[in-house]
Amino acid sequence: MQALVIVAHGSHLNPDASTPTYDHADTIREAGVFDEVRTAFWKEEPSFREVLRTVESEEVYVVPLFISEGYFTEEVIPRELRLEGWDLEQWDSDGTSATHATLEAADVDKTIHYCGPVGTHDAMSDVIVRRAETVTGDSEAGEGFALAVVGHGTERNENSAKAVHLHADRIAETGRFDEVKALFMDEDPEIDDVTDFFETTDIVVVPLFIADGYHTQEDIPEDMGLTDDYRTGWETPAEVDGHRIWYAGAVGTEGLTADVVIERAADAGADVGDAIETVRHRTRSDANASAGD
């Protein structure tokens, strides 16, 4: 038997923080390739400490629903899961290239395949593009659009900016959008001046965040000038300095993120059958259905 455990941050204060995690778990559960699909949180229950004992399978694929490699993926999660002999070297990563490591957990008799975070997987670039399609309601969105991928910035962890650049560069290479840039909340180039960085009138802004919360629903919309007060909401698209800003909200809420979770587990050796295809297809029809609403 094989289990998938999605580990995420969660929140003591924000009831919606866990929603994307639950949604992706449900999508993957429906695909039916894992005997068990569980979720665990740093701030909610079950905790990282206690999730493995709720799982029956001997093979467990743990996928962090985090944006970048750093404090949580390198230190907190392995420690709390009691991964024996965990050493960052096992990931052999340059900051965005971790795939997985195979370990045992001290409190259960299971093999734990500890995967890199979803945010740095190549497939996350596709989710960002899908997010742009969803927010514009145009499955061909690209020509005539600029794309801004937004990150937190270095703050505590330089890998977080690396992940943003990784995807901005990958998407730029495809040539699908007229312009692609990485922007940040607390370092240059700053999101506050978003319109200064683009020639194109239509700019799709996709924050590389897992869940919507304070940053994506309050800070970023106000910083970009979509609204003076986040509580009154904003238009999509919103007119700012002669540009139209299509603000997408956290990329992690996009249904296709479930695909990245599965790909992480598959890269670590999970037998996922045709789940990748199924989920890619199913989340696309969901996206189109909601865009038509």
């Binding site: 009831p15 639950y22 740093w42 701030k43 229950e45 079950p46 206690e50 907190v76």
Partner: protein, 365 residues
């Protein structure tokens, strides 16, 4: 009583070869034939047909064995479901009679679980909030998919987010019906995550408790400061934390963690069915704030208050701490924590900067 079902009889016939001895049912097969035994009597040297007739007359014993043994259930789930129906203490006939009648009533935290007899001796479980034990199921919102429990338990009846799943604020108005054993265990897992697993470990004497000291030593990042709160001069502060957060009025888990191995806290751990094996993330987060606040030295302040005003301040702290401030009626001006009373006190005793009796806080910095 219905006849025994063929599938169950076949399963029992083949299991008899290696011997069955379960909840009072004994079934064996050797060179002399079959043996069939229940607390009502022993029958030996039976032909397969005779064995079948006896099974037919004792369908409860057969289906009971089948329910627990012949299906592929994890040990934890078997232990939990058997515990709910008191299977280790109550004879098969007693349980079946009750299930066939009004059903067996069990509880887990604030959940009320009704166990009824389903087809072929299977169980059908119903789950709801215990305060709605007498409410007709029809007047509740009915669910059958365990996953729906996740959203249901996110907010309490006042619409407030429940960051602690085992807080005694389980919302009302819903019921899960027609659940089989697996679906029941899943539902409980979403309402009270990991409680079944930890309960089972504890029953087997294998619960891995991490006490306060170990837990705080383990913290890193913004939480590493908490270890500085333990200064080796007693652990009164941890008693206060446990009293504040872990009392049964705040959390249904039974706190099994102590200050450290061999140094128990003086505060009662509670009476819950399921154990708490280490300070949870809520307690860790609160402890970080307390570590900062408790770093302050006390100072001497002088306030002029009437005796009733002093008591009123105590009443306000009590009302907030017990979560009762909201339920004090609008015009109940006899309660110190009544809103008008509190507003009057503020109007009289606070200066325009919100300082009690105009006394500056002077944090000494």
């Amino acid at each position: 009583m219905t006849d025994v079902n063929d599938e169950q009889l076949d399963a029992l016939l083949s299991a008899a070869a290696s011997g069955v001895d379960y909840d009072g049912l004994v079934a064996e097969h050797d060179v002399d034939g079959y043996r069939f035994e229940t607390p009502d009597g022993t029958h030996e040297e039976l032909t397969e047909a005779e064995f079948g007739e006896l099974a037919d007359r004792n369908p409860w014993f057969v289906s009971n064995w089948y329910y627990w043994r012949a299906r592929d259930r994890p040990d934890t789930e078997v232990a939990f479901l058997r515990y709910l129906e008191g299977a280790d203490d109550r004879p098969v006939t007693d349980r079946y009679e009750t299930m066939a009648d009004d059903g067996i009533v069990a509880s887990w935290g604030q959940l009320r679980i009704d166990i009824a007899l389903g087809e072929d001796g299977h169980r059908v479980y119903t789950v709801r909030n215990e305060t709605e034990a007498d409410t007709a199921i029809e007047s509740l919102t009915v669910h059958t998919d365990p996953l729906e429990a996740r959203e249901l338990v996110k907010h309490d009846d006042r619409g407030r987010y429940r960051p602690l799943k085992t807080a005694p604020t389980l919302p009302t108005g819903w019921a899960f019906v027609d659940l089989d054993g697996r679906a029941l265990a899943e539902t409980v897992e979403y309402v009270y995550p990991a409680t079944i697993a930890n309960w089972h470990l504890e029953r087997r004497g294998e619960l891995d408790v991490d006490h306060w000291r170990e837990t705080m030593e383990r913290q890193s990042g913004i939480y590493s400061v908490i270890k500085t709160w333990d200064r080796g001069e007693g652990h009164e502060h941890v008693n206060w934390v446990a009293e504040a957060c872990c009392a049964d009025s705040q959390c249904l888990k039974r706190r099994e963690w102590e200050y450290e191995d061999g140094t128990p806290l003086e505060v009662d751990g509670g009476d819950g069915e399921f154990p708490c094996r280490e300070p949870c993330s809520l307690v860790v987060t609160a402890a970080r704030q307390w570590t900062k606040l408790e770093g302050e030295e006390t100072k001497r302040y002088e306030f002029e208050l009437t005796p009733s005003e002093k008591e009123q301040i105590e009443a306000i702290v009590d009302a907030v701490a017990d979560g009762e401030a909201e339920s004090i009626r609008e015009a109940d001006i006899y309660e110190g924590a009544n809103r008008y009373r509190a507003r009057f006190l503020r109007a009289k005793r606070f200066d325009e900067e919100g300082r009690l009796c105009g006394v500056p806080t002077d944090d000494g910095s």
